[in-house]
């Protein structure tokens, strides 16, 4: 093990000299308490390292020990249902009320193991050799580390074991033996190997109408969610974590608020996953680097998270990773870069910001895994642009690497219109590949109706500008009709309260029903208008209120009610006609 001596410290960055060999990205332990760090630059006999913990009290002359291996995390069955810091060290109540530097905590826990192989079987890297059960998380598989191939010479019988006990021995053809436990280590900056990438199969359903129906995200895709402060990024991320139909959620609180993490920990165990009916926490893993935790660990937390996501994907699971917020991660990059005295690029960010973002988002994929299953990692990154200015580097670079872009709008948020996704500033490039999904879900007109909705919103913006000059009443009835319908789409369809027990989750069937109903109204009211019904008579229909509130009033168990509402709509419109003839006569 190589050793070096510190000769310079500033904040999270240190320099040390050594006669021995260090490697780039090798993980190190610093000083008496053994603070965790990583080598980021080597120059002659001097190494530069970033330290992932508070460096107060460190002094020149203290020792730095190299570990010989790159910064790695331990992947195993104890991940789901728990909370970790940016380097995947468990945060538990036993550590006390405050986080102290140098923690090397391990949770002592036993997991149920059932072998799926027998001695003599040939295995390859990434194969499944057993099933694992834990008290807190969903059942998982035990995977052979990707670098191991050979013949099983011994495998333990079913039982409860700690996660570091050897439960399987594999002998390679050259006679080398590997002792496998339920866990293995993997370097965070290196993508895990796969058999091959797959084409997009279907959407990642989020249960949010404005996302699923207007700007859908494919499973294995990547989405960016920029928004100034107070536009509801975190609430939307949490909502996605709660209701999206992934098998596993990896939630990274990257430089965000401690109280929010507490809120998630408080709330998730009480909620039920609408897809599996099990406790929501069982499929969730939280990585917390709150804004007052060390900056360098924030940089690592994103990689840690995506590595964990890939590990779970390799078991054949659909994984969704929510990163809140990638701006804090970029700022951590900038801070460390500044301390290294690197030449700053745009807004002080290092020139390699763009390629780092690309590295991260490229790890999203739907794949055939080494064990022969299919799995996916979907990335959803929130961005906090300074001053709400979307032309800043993190937003613009992220836009280049993501296919779905959900812009959160502060005007909508200020009117308490949530989710505050702006329908005209957002887009999804996954639309065409998802038409089939909606066809299978009895909504063949999805594409057409979606286009209609969006063009109405666009017209609304144009007409409102005009109305500002000539007055709303001066607009011709057809245009007033457009304004009315756009308003209805906003209120009845796009607005969805994350805190309403009925409306917080909306299944595709219900979304389709609501979309059809509103479209039906648009068509019917257009017809009525052509017939000569006054626009005021349409906009004062009492039934409109039922439409506006249908999200709150008609739940998942009562989807038939939409058909009834549609019938009453027909009836009301036919009465309108009579009313008008009366007036005329």
């Amino acid at each position: 093990m190589s050793e070096a001596r510190i000769n310079w410290i500033s904040g999270p960055v240190l320099r040390a000299t050594s006669e021995q060999q260090f490697h780039i990205h090798e993980s190190i332990r610093v000083g008496e308490v053994g603070l965790l760090g990583e080598v980021i630059r080597i120059n002659g006999d001097e190494i530069v390292a970033q330290v992932y913990e508070d460096t107060s009290g460190l002094r020149p002359g203290e020792a730095v020990f190299g570990s010989g291996s790159p910064l790695s995390v331990r992947l195993g069955p104890g991940l789901l249902g728990n909370l970790f810091d940016g380097l995947l060290r468990p945060l538990t109540l036993e550590q006390g009320n405050f986080v102290k530097p140098g923690i090397q905590a391990r949770v002592e826990e036993k997991f149920g193991f059932t072998p799926r192989l027998k001695p003599g079987d040939q295995v390859e890297g990434g194969a499944i050799f057993g099933t694992l059960n834990s008290a807190k998380g969903r059942p998982q598989y035990a995977l052979v580390p990707p670098w191991v191939n050979g013949e099983v010479t011994w495998i333990d019988e079913a039982g409860e074991y700690p996660d570091d006990k050897t439960i399987c021995i594999i002998k390679e053809s050259d006679g080398k033996e590997h002792q496998l436990s339920m866990c293995h280590d993997w370097p965070v900056r290196e993508p895990r190997p796969i058999k091959k990438r797959m084409k997009i199969q279907g959407p990642l359903l989020t249960g949010q109408r404005i996302l699923d129906s207007l700007f859908p995200l494919a499973c294995g895709g990547r989405a960016a969610m920029p928004g100034g402060f107070g536009t509801g990024k975190t609430v939307l991320q949490e909502t996605l974590a709660k209701w999206c139909d992934a098998d596993v959620i990896v939630y990274v609180g990257c430089g965000e608020r401690g109280n929010e993490m507490a809120g998630v920990l408080d709330e998730f165990p009480q909620l039920e996953d609408p897809h599996s009916g099990r406790q929501l926490m069982e499929r969730t893993l939280i990585i917390a680097n709150t804004s007052n935790m060390p900056v360098a660990a924030r940089e690592a937390s994103i990689y840690t998270a995506v590595t964990v996501a890939e590990y779970l994907r390799d078991q054949g699971l659909r994984v969704a990773l929510m990163a809140d917020s990638t701006s804090r991660w970029a700022e951590a990059l900038r801070e460390v870069s500044g301390r290294l005295g690197e030449l700053p690029g745009e807004s002080g960010y290092p020139a390699y910001l763009s390629s780092r973002l690309a590295d991260f988002y490229e790890r999203a994929a739907a794949v055939h895994t080494l064990c022969g299953k299919t799995g996916s990692v979907t990335l959803i990154g929130a961005i906090s642009p300074p001053g709400g200015d979307f032309s800043e580097p993190v937003t613009t670079h992220t836009k280049r690497y993501t296919k779905v872009y959900w812009t959160l709008d502060s005007t909508r948020a200020q009117a308490r219109f949530y989710p505050a996704v702006h329908p005209l500033l957002s887009y999804s490039e996954d639309i065409q590949s998802l038409v089939d999904f909606w066809k299978q879900n009895h909504h063949p007109d999805w594409l057409k109706q979606r286009r209609r909705f969006l063009s109405m919103m666009e017209d609304q913006q144009r007409l409102e500008r005009m109305a500002r000059i000539i007055g709303k009443d001066a607009l011709p009835p057809r245009q007033q009709h457009t304004l009315m319908c756009a308003e209805l789409i906003n209120e009845a369809f796009l607005s969805q309260s994350a805190f309403s027990d009925i409306d917080r989750y909306c299944s595709p069937q219900r979304q389709a029903a609501m979309m059809r109903l509103i479209h039906h109204f648009i068509v019917k009211s257009e017809e009525a208008l052509e017939r000569g019904v006054a626009i005021e008579d349409i906009s004062s229909m009492p039934l409109l209120r039922r439409l506006q509130r249908m999200g709150e009033e008609i739940g998942e168990d009562n989807i038939k009610a939409f058909t009834q509402l549609s019938h009453s709509l027909d009836e009301a419109f036919s009465k309108l006609k009579e009313g008008e003839t009366d007036a005329a006569g």
Partner: protein, 468 residues
């Protein structure tokens, strides 16, 4: 008690702004505290901010004027800055680095704590849920404050933020509780003597001085010291909240001065400036202050923060309010136009927000219909502002009947709801809110359920009609 007490003299090579550059001839660590002693034996506190084999940089926390290279001694404490605190800190007035300036006895040092604190373990955090009634409708009903929250006031020069903060400090209470529920820590960061005096007098008049601790870093004190004042105050606050189990409300004014000091010190370190010259780490630095608010499982006490900042030229996208808004759990924004119209408190409702409101309001916390009412008022007022923009161009003639009602609603909302002559309980605020909504057509109230409309609007309308 001190681990090391080394002293070194004659090793200073350079003095620049608040920084002393020394030859490194003693074994000390990063962030260790020091005392700089000049020819007249005057002590100035400082700390080590950078280190290498040969040299070190000491940041002096007071002015460096009068220091010389040869006759200045530096004493090393061998540990980071600590603050000795005891329960007798209540009722005291201290300077920016925790030294009594009220001619009273020294504070007993029951516990010595590092002023930088440590991050609260996210697992140990308790979700803040206890609603605090401040007496302002725009806060209580629209942007509720809960115990353990950090809710800043975004203000501007000349706006009555001090008065609002003083009134919150004086009369904040739990629903149905007493006004003396809270220990108030008032932290003056680079403010004028008048402001500090105003707070002192207000607390004195309400007889709450023995529940109050004041930390005063006045405009005339050094800017390096300004960086430490909130840290000393929050260390005291953490002690009172998590050791003595008190509910602590920390009012800090003015965080803009703190950020200016941060920029000044960063520049003197020769660091690469970020946006508008503020250092790139300002977000992390502010977070180490604001994140110290919270509730901890098993602790009886809580720590709530109401920081005040003045937005430079009223610009909410300026780095100071911008970064603050990303860290804090919402913000209360004050508006110059409302202030000009003599509306007190001049709270600009639309950009104001409380993120923790959802956890502390509604059934089981305040009133079942509280969230819906607040939501509906927000939606209606935002529509009113929208109509106001329309009307500003072409007058009210071109507006539809409904739009005109909204326009009127907007006026009344500001005059009768935002504006308040005296403290309102939450119940009174809610009554005022329902009454405003009664003037709008029911078909427009789509954030309320039929039942809510029946109980609060239709029934009352009928009653009123019967009454009149």
């Amino acid at each position: 008690m001190l681990q090391a007490d080394l002293s070194s003299s004659g090793s200073i090579t350079r003095i620049e702004g608040p920084l002393l550059f020394l030859k490194r001839n003693v074994n000390v660590g990063l962030n260790d505290s020091v005392v700089v002693i000049d020819e007249q034996q005057r002590n100035r506190p400082g700390r080590i901010t950078a280190l290498d084999d040969e040299s070190m940089i000491v940041e002096v926390l007071e002015t460096t004027s009068g220091l010389s290279l040869s006759n200045t001694r530096v004493r090393f404490h061998g540990e980071a800055l600590h603050f000795g605190i005891g329960p007798d800190i209540l009722g005291r007035v201290l300077d920016g680095v925790g030294r009594p300036i009220d001619h009273g006895p020294p504070i007993s040092s029951k516990k010595r704590l590092r002023i930088d604190g440590m991050s609260i373990n996210p697992v140990a955090r308790e979700t803040p849920r206890d609603f605090i009634e401040t007496g302002f409708s725009t806060i209580d009903l629209m942007n509720s404050l809960v115990r353990g929250q950090k809710l800043p006031i975004f203000s501007g020069g000349g706006l009555p933020h001090d008065r609002i903060a003083a009134e919150i400090a004086r009369s904040a209470k739990l629903l149905g509780g007493e006004a003396n529920d809270f220990v108030v820590i008032f932290v003056a960061i680079g403010v004028s003597y008048d402001t500090a005096d105003y707070f002192r007098n207000t607390m004195e008049e309400s007889g709450a001085l023995n529940h109050t601790v004041m930390f005063l870093n006045l405009a005339s004190d050094s800017s390096t010291q300004r960086l430490l004042t909130p840290r000393y105050a929050l260390t005291a606050a953490e002690y009172l909240a998590f050791e003595e189990n008190r509910h602590v409300l920390v009012v800090m004014t003015d965080m803009t001065n703190y950020c200016e000091a941060l920029r000044e010190v960063s520049a003197s370190h020769g660091e690469i400036p970020g946006r508008k010259g503020y250092p790139g780490y300002m977000y992390s630095d502010l977070a180490t202050i604001f994140e110290r608010a919270g509730c901890i499982k098993g602790c009886g006490g809580t720590l709530t923060q109401v920081p005040i900042l003045t937005m430079p030229s009223d610009d909410i996208t300026h780095p100071i309010p911008d970064l603050t808004g990303y860290i804090t759990e919402g913000q209360i924004v004050l508006d110059r136009e409302l202030h000009r119209h003599d509306i007190y408190p001049p709270v600009k409702v639309l950009p104001s927000l409380s993120r923790l409101m959802k956890d502390g309001t509604g059934e089981g916390f305040t009133d079942v219909d509280h969230p819906a009412l607040s939501n509906q008022l927000y939606a209606a007022y935002s529509r009113a502002i929208h109509v106001r923009v329309l009307a500003s161009v072409m007058g009210t003639e071109g507006l539809s009947e409904t739009d005109r009602l909204f326009l009127q609603f907007g006026e009344e909302f500001e005059r009768e709801f935002v504006q308040q002559g005296q403290r309102r309980s939450l119940e009174e605020s809610m009554t005022a809110g329902w009454e405003l909504l009664m003037k709008l057509p029911i078909s427009e109230l789509n954030r309320l359920s039929d039942m809510q409309i029946d109980t609060h609007i239709s029934d009352r309308e009928r009653q009123q009609r019967r009454g009149s």
